[in-house]
């Protein structure tokens, strides 16, 4: 691998790690607060991409507006998941998980029927051209993901550490019953967690829409990867998810570059299996689930 290729790959790994982080923190957050495991997290990602497709490609709004709009729109879907699927099955992680699998089916069909199933809805790249860093060319469209992630994940960190509602979320994650005894409403917090979870998935899908083919099934790979990320990081740990996201981002990018993407996925899974054997609670997790 030449130096340029290395820099290129390194930057791509940072970009992929950022996207993984953005997708996975939402999953970890929802799981941490009330053990809500969203099988169709990937479909929320897909929904975000379609928000961009509709608002930017079809309606013609600016790309940035479409990306920002993806947050509330997909967050709303997340809240709907919480209300309709997770709340009735509370106390049974697997039931909620399987119910969201059903919801994924529904979303895929609805999107497919509305905008077509087989077509690859490519979104025209809004930020054309590329930046030259250490001799390697990296497209702006990808590069922009890194600051976006810093803003989003940083914002989440600030919210959880400094804002009252965010602290309430952490309290629920650490001890839901004690949180309730302080007057924190569990229903509101689970709703909030799924709102954030959906919003983050939506924005990441929106940012990826110009880069990858937009189809009703595009979320699957990202949903699966997000799950591997949170297992490696430690199911409910947000810091763990960010760490694991970058580890897997680097594994996937470098192995894809040197070998191929199938091998990269296999090595990623193998890495997860090794982590489970060595530390079943994940890298930064302390709860056994």
């Amino acid at each position: 691998m030449g130096f340029e290729t290395f820099v290129q790959t390194f930057a791509n790994a940072l970009v992929l790690g950022s996207i993984y982080a953005m997708v996975a923190v939402g999953l970890a957050l929802a799981f941490g607060v009330m053990q809500m495991a969203n099988f169709s997290h990937g479909e929320l990602f897909m929904a975000g991409a379609y928000v961009v497709y509709v608002l930017y490609s079809l309606v013609g709004l600016p790309f940035l507006v479409a990306v920002v709009a993806a947050f509330p729109i997909v967050a709303l879907i997340g809240m709907l998941f919480e209300r309709v699927l997770f709340r009735p099955t509370r106390g049974n992680v697997l039931s909620g998980f399987m119910a969201t699998a059903g919801a994924g089916f529904i979303m895929q069909v609805l999107v497919g029927q509305q905008w077509g199933v087989g077509l690859m809805r490519s979104v025209v790249v809004p930020y054309k051209g590329s930046a030259e860093i250490l001799g390697a060319a990296i497209s702006w469209q990808r590069l922009v993901i890194i600051p976006a992630t810093i803003i989003m994940v940083g914002g989440l960190w600030f919210f959880l550490k400094k804002v009252k509602a965010g602290k309430g979320l952490r309290a629920c994650a650490q001890d839901p019953e004690a949180a309730v005894l302080q007057g924190i409403s569990l229903n509101k917090m689970t709703s909030l967690a799924m709102l954030l979870s959906g919003g983050f998935a939506g924005v990441s899908g929106a940012l990826m829409a110009p880069i990858i083919p937009v189809t009703p099934y595009m979320g699957h790979v990202y949903g699966v990867t997000a799950f591997i990320v949170v297992i490696v990081g430690g199911m409910a740990s947000i810091e763990g998810a960010v760490l694991a996201a970058f580890i897997l981002g680097f594994i996937h990018t470098f192995i894809s570059t040197v070998y191929d993407s199938v091998t990269a996925t296999m090595v990623g899974v193998l890495f997860m299996a090794i982590v489970l054997v060595v530390k079943p609670t994940g890298l930064l997790g302390n709860v056994k689930v």
Binding site: S95, G102, I106, F227, V269, A273, V289
Partner: protein, 329 residues
Amino acid sequence: MSKSNSSSFIWLPVVIVIGLFCFAPQVVSAYRLELLTIFLINVILAQSYRLMTTTGDWTLCHYILMGVGAYATGILAKKFGVPFYAAMPLAAVITVGVSLILALPLSRTIGFAFFIASFALGEFIRHVWLKFHTPFGGARGVNGIPKLEIGQQGDWYFIDFWDSTNFYFFTLIFTVLALLVLYRIDRSRVGNAWKSIYADSELCESIGINVTRYRVLIFCVAGFFAGIAGSLLAYQVGSIDPHNFEMVEMVYLIIWVVVGGVKTYWGPLIGVFSMSLVFELARPLQEWRPLLFGLILILFLVFMPGGLETLLPRIKSFFLGLVGKKEVR
């Protein structure tokens, strides 16, 4: 478990159902008969999955294990010319081997992590099929798997399984046998040990049941039957590729057992039967069909979490009423 009365009550409908299945080729079209064969294979798959869930370990790679059996059969039969009576047991043994390898890391996890890890490891296997063209054929899979035959043309005992009726009966025999064995296991001491692990694994340890060993064992036993199902599938469809064993298929398997229920032996049978029926009836819906199934899954999880089998006691007392018997317990 109450004895004599209810068990004789159970066996009568079972005999009737088997009788109906034997009679089926007389009345249905060849196309329908092939669907029925697939249905029988699905019955084995669903029932072995139900066994898996008795310890509470809902895997997400059961469909992949079926694929392992199918691939093993396909490769043995096509590339090595192994006859079915060797290829089928070998395929089952290979599936057990793979199950064992998967069970080792998986038995270190419980609950949700188990669920997801099983899925990821299943995907790993699927990627192995995709990646290695020898012997798995990559994305195109294994095609032209020879149909099985008994004897050769001209032998008096020659049976040609290109004939769909013959293969149907071949599958039927395996299905009945598999169901019988799974029923025996379910009612056995080992079966009860598995259910006990689900109820209270600490208590099991304290009375001398090695929980880890038994969790690995159940994975292997369930894998065995998934392997048999895969083997039958390979012979039935004649060609397999990684897309036959995608996540979607696993979700359908889950829908069967959720709709039917897993607490009793009969739940998955009810589930796979009713959902196969709905699947066929919903054919006109075309691409909207997954939406219907997603809805069914959600409705059952939210409104009837025990599945259709929770209606069983009511149906049972209705039939007992018909024959004039009082419920024992």
